[in-house]
Amino acid sequence: MNSNKSASVEDRMNAIQSVLEARGMEPVAAIEQAYHRAEEDWVPRNGARIIAKAWTDPAYRQRLLADGKAAAAELGFDMPPHHRYLVALENTPKLHNVICCTLCSCTAFSIIGLPPDWYKDLEYRARVVRESRTVLKEMGLDLPASTEIKVWDTTTDTRYMVVPHQPPETIGWPEDKLVEIITKESMIGVARLMGS
């Protein structure tokens, strides 16, 4: 187990990096590439663009619900090869979807962004499958008793994204304005948009 004699996490990380450097694996280039990916490629705006298009283009919405990975690719958004399938889960006033990974931290990170701390924390992983309504309320989403909740536990490499319900007051907005209101939290399913 970890003890107070353990090297610091920074020193342990440096040790790993030195080993990879010595084996010719070019870790510095990989770190730069990953930085670029996390900051510029794997951003929640990708999912927001998919959703805004689905809200405004019924044919695209149908394609998204049928095959999320293909619909994402149409807009130029790739997923890692081991993510073989993306399921878009559409919220309605009567149905609320929320995603989690009780075993680790799996997410459609190339589409909705890398998962935040709270998603990977033990509290969310332990509680959301068992007390979803309570957890969502604690997180600021107090759903009416008449709204059914579906929790999606990401146990295989099939990935999920929640398609939030479009706020009625935004019907008719142009796509690029809609993109701005769609948050990572709403695509995980712990928030609704503008009180929808």
């Binding site: 970890n2 399921v87 075993l103 924390d121 332990a126």
Partner: protein, 205 residues
Amino acid sequence: MDGVHDMGGRQGFGVIRYAPNASVFHAEWERRANALYGLAVRHGIFNMDEYRHAIERMSPYHYMSASYYERTLTSLATLLVEKGVTSQEELEKLAKGEFPLAGPSAAGRSNLPERQQFKPGDRVRVRNEFFAGHIRMPAYIRGKQGIVVRETPAYPLPDAHAHGIQAEDEPTYDVVFRTEDLWPNASDSAQVHVGVFQSYLQKED
């Protein structure tokens, strides 16, 4: 394995430390941990199931107290040692201190010999099995009854793929459970969808 990583339904945890727009990384070494395990996967040193399993094999004390990216770097280091890229001695010499690694792996297993096919609407039961290797069946569904919603893509069987054992890719199923069946009288009412490998399921009459 019935490890502490299998968190679904555990009690005693408090309020989620939630903040909208939370940053993903908090320190520069966390970015490096995330980047370098990905590099090792791309080099074919290990696969994602091996990576996940090495996290699960951490001492429960270490797992529970480690931050997310400390678990990442512990899995990466463990697999680099197990695959012969380095040794714990070399890592500890470079780190100038102890470098705790994950514990050893149990044996893996291949596909169930006589797997059943399922179709939407089938009532199924998750097999009441206890497997010490890597498995993507959360304990809260073990032995429980659910309904097949649809077949989802075939994936490498984690029970084999994390252990270097040959196996066929298996269909997975979107199976829906009710919390009333998973935790009777002790849960909020909801449907829980779990992706379940074919080998983990049997048809219910």
